[in-house]
Amino acid sequence: MAQNGKLKLGLYWAASCGGCEIAIVELREKILDLDAAADILFWPCAMDFKYKDVEAMPDGHMDVVLFNGAIRTSENEEMAHLLRKKSKVLVAFGSCAHEGCIPGLANLFDRKSIFERVYLTSQSVENPNKYLPQTSYQMPEGEIDIPYFYNTVKTLGQVEDVDYFVPGCPPQAPQIWAVVEAILGGNLPPKGSVVGASPDKTVCDECKHNREEKHVKKFYRPHEIIPDSNRCLFDQGIICAGPATRAGCGALCTSVDMPCRGCYGPAPNVLDQGAALLSAVASVVDADTEEDAARIVAEVVDPIGTFYRFGLPASLLHRTKLE
């Protein structure tokens, strides 16, 4: 704590979209309470601090750093190491830092194919000389460098020692405030815990739809069905990640009849969210012959995209096979 008794707080975004920052702004008037309780020492999105300022800090200077965004480039990883050094508590904040999130779907591909698509074949790009990013380039005035783009998206936990994880894409404001209060009050759970979410339950616990015994004869894609708002979406054959996803969001998606996409990550006792969801989905297929079963599960067109939508980098296999 600083001499004024205020918490020294840092926030950083690695490979992120800025949604987590907006989520903090979503605290609304409570952000004033946050300001009253904490000095913000680093927050590129909102305040003018440079990396040099952070490097200049003594080790462990910041009490808490909320780190959002995945580890996509060497710069992200360097910042992770730097902020670990400069902070007492490093929090993986939001789905990207926690488990890779949507940008983690890039682990279905490798650097080469991404570069080709983005810089060469994209319809909105004009690149006749076929330039691809290079880590350093000699301009007439001098050398310019950019970070190295990894083949694989990693989570913060995979490159650095993380104290706490706050799941969600983005984390919901009340949950963020609960975390802030826990930090201020000093009653944090053991290191490595997931905070800012239910400690034990899954989204079904918060979902208002009526669930029954499941017998799924067909999997529906959203445009193939108008769901019954009273019945569990999964029961209706719409793949919903709710049963395999930690509670905490308040079942936002299902409350408007959209199936849960699983952004709050696996349930506490689950090693691999996608495998758990896959097993549940396949188990309730109402097929008594191998042919029927194969036909029905073939309706799941994109298994990784369906079951690992937010958690591919954090899954057991991390990514697709590299050639």
């Binding site: 949604g19 907006i22 590129p44 305040m47 601090f49 996509r72 591909f109 991404i114 983005p170």
Partner: protein, 137 residues
């Protein structure tokens, strides 16, 4: 040649750095905006079910997810069908409203900035249809 790096550029959405090269006189010889970030949505959207895109593309930018969401929702709708309900169309046209409501406060409170012309505000019928649709949808 001297190089000044503004690293990172702050108070905006996105990652960036400005490398400024000064000549002997200390004048700016050249400046480069360096964007050290890439996530590759163009690539990993490939192979996903089309209806998933409205929930993938908003993660391009968490500040303006609406724009990405609506763009892909419209594209998805049109890729599946050319005929869709009026109400869906109404929902589409009301989509710029949150964006406007996000920026209008600045528009009307900041005296230094030029006000937006009415031409860029949502047309009145869309507002009515939005109000209508929120009451019933």
């Amino acid at each position: 040649m001297k190089k000044i790096s503004i690293d990172p550029i702050t108070r905006l959405e996105g990652h960036g750095r400005i490398d400024i090269f000064l000549d002997e006189e200390g004048d700016v010889a050249n400046a480069y905006l360096v964007v050290p970030e890439l996530r590759g949505f163009e690539k990993f959207a490939e192979g996903r079910p089309v209806e998933e895109l409205p929930r993938i593309t908003p993660r391009i930018c968490g500040v303006c997810p609406e724009a990405h969401h609506m763009a892909s929702a419209k594209a998805t709708t049109r890729s599946i069908t050319s005929r869709y309900p009026r109400r869906a169309k109404s929902c589409e046209s009301c989509s710029t409203l949150p964006f406007t409501s996000l920026t209008t406060p600045s528009t009307f409170t900041s005296s230094e900035r030029p006000t937006l012309s009415w031409g860029r505000m949502p047309r009145l019928p869309s507002v009515i249809s939005w109000a209508w649709s929120t009451r019933w949808v």
